[in-house]
Point group: C2
């Protein structure tokens, strides 16, 4: 049997699974940002009716996944495989959100790359013949992330200019073998890279080389030039990281140009919302893909989109021990027409 | 296209990928236990030459993965997909261990079920036609887990009789499309269950219902009775949890009998090593499978083994917030002859 690989990191999916439905949910800050109209639900209450930030994150992801299932006209228990993960220690956000589904569950940890990781694996499950349907989901919450990675909110620490703000948001996608599209045509899986960055307030710099590595592999292994796509979307490099990525490609003589966008840069009004380097967190790329970008694809604004979510894989403990920050980027090609 | 599913949670893998190589590494306590002779490497130094417990865990997993690759006569960079995860916050054990491989990496979080989760997905990658080879790996370390989940080691807290001891150990498996066997024939993916347990010192009670749920689904969906297997192996229910599992099946009129074993119960001399309810941690089922059980299969002691690793998906934070403990169990059928 010949494999579907076209290179070290890339596979084409002959069956080209379809996105049947997608949903995204956000918090208050996201409801004040430029992409607010693409969210399925925006909560003024950052606690989502719960007593803790962690429970709020699970409730938000649960709600998002429920909306995606409703749009797919499928009961959560009838989803053959759920792939989900988040930033909380032990990925508790996902485990508690998916506890009530009764569906087979694969827990992931890909930091902020989780939407692309989960989408890759869900599409591969269908393409591999293991099911006719699969779901991908993830979330992040500003308040649960802030106290876990940085300081208690009440401490009121000042933020570095390079710092990104963890998005309070969730995204979920239901894929099917047959469907109206857009279609997942190709998956490039990331390798862990390490640019030697130790500054946890500069994730963009740590993750940009991972995005460069995976996108370069994608272009090389597929034979597709960047202009094959009308949108190349990184996860959450933010202002700092996306500028670095442009520079890295410029060094190869490639100008990414206007087709290149970054979810972390898009989700907030950088200046007026005091968003420093932009948004981050699993929920950033997840909600911007599931809202803004998939809406734009349905409208025909973009027909070929390369979604490349990036993640920084350190923990506060490893950082305190002086370790550098490893990063990863997974890329998924999403196209309105089957290839 | 017909899917390979034979039920809600179970797929047969027509290509039946082969275990090409397996390796396991353990610490000092493991070197004093009854399974010591099946480890590829046992370290008297719990720090594995590193300055922190977290770095030690990564070094141990790195070593284990390197040994598995050497046995497979493959460079780590030539592994098409690595599936790995661990218990550390942000799964940092795996990210740092796999940082140097240069291989496409999918990070997982399945708590102590990770060896079965990673083995499931690695086998499905091959069976789905995405590669001819894939690797599954995981680790846990007593000292990094103890201070993360419980107390600083120096505190010298007393342990509850139901408590399990996190194994210092790692396991890694390289799978190939063709090979000498044993073969992965069938995968049953777990659903998150919650038995309402809140006691973090009684993981066996929290996880036994998940094992019961997945094993029951496996028997029901495959049409295989428990006596199809000559070994049914749970991850790390320990003494308490494995007794509960026997009782749950006895309630259905099924006596699991001597073919049923638990890795947490096997890895230590329960009495003389003062192991309370036995071993736990991702590295428990991983090292016992990769050492003891695969050795026994190669010797012909067992020919059909059902490996069902169990995980408790809570975090210390959710526990402190009064949440109950969700659990999951994934099962993988490993057989000496293709079916």
């Amino acid at each position: 049997m010949e494999t579907k690989r076209t290179g070290r990191q890339t596979v084409f999916l002959p069956s080209q699974p379809s996105i049947l439905s997608a949903a995204c949910v956000g918090g208050k800050k996201e409801s004040e940002g430029p992409l607010r109209k693409y969210f399925d639900f925006l909560s003024d209450d950052s606690r989502f009716g719960e007593k803790s930030w962690e429970k709020a994150e699970s409730a938000m992801l649960d709600l998002c996944f429920t909306i995606a299932c409703e749009k797919a006209e499928t009961a959560p228990a009838d989803i053959p495989y759920i792939f989900s993960g988040d930033l909380l220690n032990q990925c508790a956000g996902s485990a508690y959100a998916m506890r009530s589904t009764g569906a087979p569950y694969f827990g992931l940890y890909g930091a902020c790359s989780t939407m692309a990781e989960s989408l890759s694996l869900a599409a591969m499950m269908i393409d591999g013949g293991f099911s006719d349907m699969a779901a991908a989901a993830t979330s992040s919450h500003f308040c649960s992330a802030e106290r876990q990675y940085r300081y208690p909110l009440q401490y009121g620490s000042t933020r570095s200019p390079t710092a990104q703000r963890t998005v309070t948001g969730a995204g979920a996608i239901v894929l099917t073998r047959e469907g109206p599209g857009p279609y997942i045509t190709c998956v490039t899986t990331g390798v862990i890279t390490d640019a030697g960055i130790t500054d946890m307030t500069n994730m963009g710099a740590a993750m940009a080389p991972a995005a460069y590595d995976t996108l370069s592999a994608h272009f090389r292994e597929t034979g597709r030039a960047p202009d094959y796509y009308d949108a190349i979307v990184t996860g959450d490099l933010g202002v700092v990281g996306s500028d670095i990525l442009r520079e890295l490609f410029a060094g190869d003589g490639i100008e990414l140009g206007v087709r290149y966008m970054d979810c972390g840069r898009l989700i907030y009004y950088i200046e007026s919302q005091d968003a420093h380097s932009g948004g981050s967190g699993c929920g950033c790329s997840a909600s911007v893909l599931c809202g803004h970008f998939l809406h734009g694809m349905r409208e025909g604004l973009w027909n070929r989109l390369l979604f490349a979510a990036t993640g920084a894989m350190m923990s506060p403990t490893t950082n305190q021990q002086g370790e550098t920050i490893p990063a990863i980027c997974h890329a998924v090609a999403i196209e309105n027409r089957r290839i």
